[in-house]
Amino acid sequence: MLNLKKKFIPQISQIGEDNLQPICADKFDLREILLTTDLMKKTLLTILSLMFINCVSNSQIINREPLSPRITGYRIEAKLNTESQTVVGYMEAFWVNYSSDMVRDVQLHMYMNAFKSNKTTLYSEINSKASLKETEKGRIDIQTFTAADGANLLPSAQYFSPDDGNLHDSTVIQVILPQAVKPGDTVSIKVNFETKLPSRIRRTGYADDYYFIAQWFPKFGVYETTGMRYRMTSGWNCHQFHAHSEFYANHSVYDVKITVPNEYIVGTGGLLLDETDSGDGEKTLTYRAEDIPDFAWTAWPGYKVFTEQWEHVKITLLIPGERLEQVERQFTAVKNALEYLTKNVGPYPWPHLTFVDPPAKGSGAGGMEYTTIFTSASFFKIPVCFHVPEMVTVHEFGHAYFMGILASNEFEEPWMDEGINSFWEERIMDHYWGENSGMIDNPLLRISDKSISRISYVSSGSRQVVSNNEYSWNYPHHTYSMMSYQKTATWLYTLMGIIGEETTNEIFREYYRRWAFKHPSGKDFINVVNDIVRNTHGDEFGPDMNWFFDQTLYGTGICDYKVSDLHNIKLESALKDSTLVDTLKKNLPAHDTLYKAVACIERAGEVMLPVDVLIHFTNGDEVLESWDGKARYKDFVYTGKRMIEWIKVDPEYKIRMDVNFINNSMTQDPNRIPLRRFTNKIISLMQFFVSAFTL
């Protein structure tokens, strides 16, 4: 790969923190420039466009230094029309060719077209045959599409479907450029577009006067260079909009002006720089965002706005006025997540964060992440013991790390975002809300957050049909969430059980250090694991940890270790039996009885992991054996006067991938107290229940 950094990483302009005016955004309005001759027009437009690019790529407003290379940037002026539920926009954007190739086209996402009809890839993947009502349809119409010099690019633009060839899908557009772009050159485009929002919110859309606006402007795909992720040759990575998939984009700079009716409260992933009242019942808000992969926003008159500060981060919460009792819960959740991830992964690099609790009518927007803006999910009067709002907030905030900072390709390796993020969400929830009560904390029922993942994975009938190494839309039998979120979180817990919590945290710190604001792949993550485990544990787990990932991430096997038997055989003629060799025996009085005590362990699943086996004897002795877990069975035999009382494989339940904890142990004297207690409660429950049903 060419070392283009020097060439393209902009010089840092000396902007003081108190001088928060964008350097270029407001200095001119390109559309107002009227020129008389074509030549002059083209030249001037080119110069002005380059000025815009230069401004965007050189100016720093939020952070003193760019966090990511300035590959793409956007300046958008958008107006929300609440009568027609449309966003009318004008966009200037650039893409810099960082590769060593001559690039002949650009590819952009046109995701709102996923809602155009019931024949798009989105609707065909959810098997929705019912035709869409007019209000349910969404689309993005390009009115003009020109190059910096004013050349019309529309004739050379065409929709295409790289993933499934669906002729009815128009969520990706390819524009053939008049001239191929040389390495280091910039493509700048100007687009007038109109986005019609769908009424059923599915990540984006409107409900009555509520708007959540995402995937609403033409956005560049990622041009991947050779060697990046799994690329053998350079090329665009620009997938269609799928039912079960998220996104992939370059970190970009956004200068966005949003015009809405005065009564609307707006939240975005950017920092508010300016607000002006146009005097005709509308206001224009100017935002700046840096180093985020997408720009989304919301508008609704019913929001109440709260702000709090956490260290360097100003946190803004938009919440319906009827849920004010949840404001504290929401801030606590997001601050806990900030604290935990900062300590164990890396710093949150932006000084701003906005999160939204959508009202019931906009609940389709709930639980979605756009890095510096995300949506939680809740409802009126949700009891404090149900930590659903907290869990969603912690989860969606976590994406700022695993989708935002570490921007993996969510289409192709969904586990790297949703799975890793679920693992951290569960750790955070159980850390702050109780090891056994991260999800529900009621005297009648306590459930930890990590249990949810394991339950979902263990109880899935399709847990072995596919591995974690699959494109998001290719998961069969409705396994996308179970595999991407829950199985991944479960095997990450298992990894932590094997290598330890501190090593795990160190892995993620190093992953952050190496890959922040880049696009890591699964193999990059595994390389970090291998390096850190080797540095911390030497050869304890072998030369690398590939054996673990081959079975968990890339494999479909299940893990199940069990105690198959426990027996103590009385040796009648023990002292005469010269074949018995036992150190204990030498010291035994002649009349003592000897036993051959055997602990029989089996590997019932395909996955082979090192496990501990704890054996407890009747005299109180305990032996902790280590087993590499590779053979199909292992017998631990002890000869002496002690008998085995109980055996536990993986006594601390660290191997959370194990699909059955019940067979992990065996005892001569099972504890029946909980069962008797349960039966008593079931008896009274039934008595009271039946009594309530009779007159």
Binding site: N671, S684, S691
Partner: protein, 292 residues
Amino acid sequence: MKIFKAYESGFRRSLNAWKGVVIVWFFSLLSVSLVALPMKGAIKAAFGKSMVTDKLMGGLDVEVLVDLGASLRILTHFFSSGLFFLILAGFLANSFLAGGLFDTLKKSDNRISAAEFFRASAGNFWSFLGISSIISIIIIIIGFLVVGLPAGFISNLHADSEKTPYIIVLISILVFFTIVAILNLVADYARSWQVTKEKKSCFKALGFGFNRTFRTFFPSFLMMFIIMIVLVLFNLLVLKILGPWRPVTGAGVLLLFIVSQLLFFVKVLIKTWRYGSVTSLMEQSNPDDNLV
């Protein structure tokens, strides 16, 4: 005053009818055990000699439950079908045993033997079964109309205010509770009248029940409403006591069993108190029960 007198008399009558209360309690324990004990055996077999039950000492562990796999599915089926059987059996048993109870309660100082109790139960069975069936069907239909329909309506409602669905649910529950109180009154008046008559007819009894309920609506309803609130509060108290109680020794589990059965006994006693109070109120007012 009438209400307090009815409560006091009803309470005395229910204490006098303790034998009947014991019979109802015992039958309940017996029938529920028929389902719960085989279930216990199945759970015991599913856990075998595992020590995972240690994880259950602090309360229910959903991971352990899910690890039961196929056994959990069998247990769930067993539990749901067992519960259906119990509701059916409980319905029939209540129709039968309520005959004995109402007969015992009809005179404030009337103490009867177990044999007399069962004789009265058998004598009133068909009529009581008719009364219970008709009132239960009305409750189910009204429940659907008052709770089911609004619930369906609000699930499709895009109300501006999130309080609206919440308030709709609260109101529909309150309305349902009120209607159930009225129908309980009808059933109780009908049954307490029926035991005083030689000729058994559930329709005549129900006619009396409706008539008396609405002719003496205010005191009757108030009395029933208060008793039902007492019952709801008592049920919440039981949940509060038994729910989080997790004894860790054999003796503790035995104590849990004794306390839970005592609480259920009290629950039956409160219901009997309701029957007694309605009976007493009927005897107090007794305007012209020949109307029917």
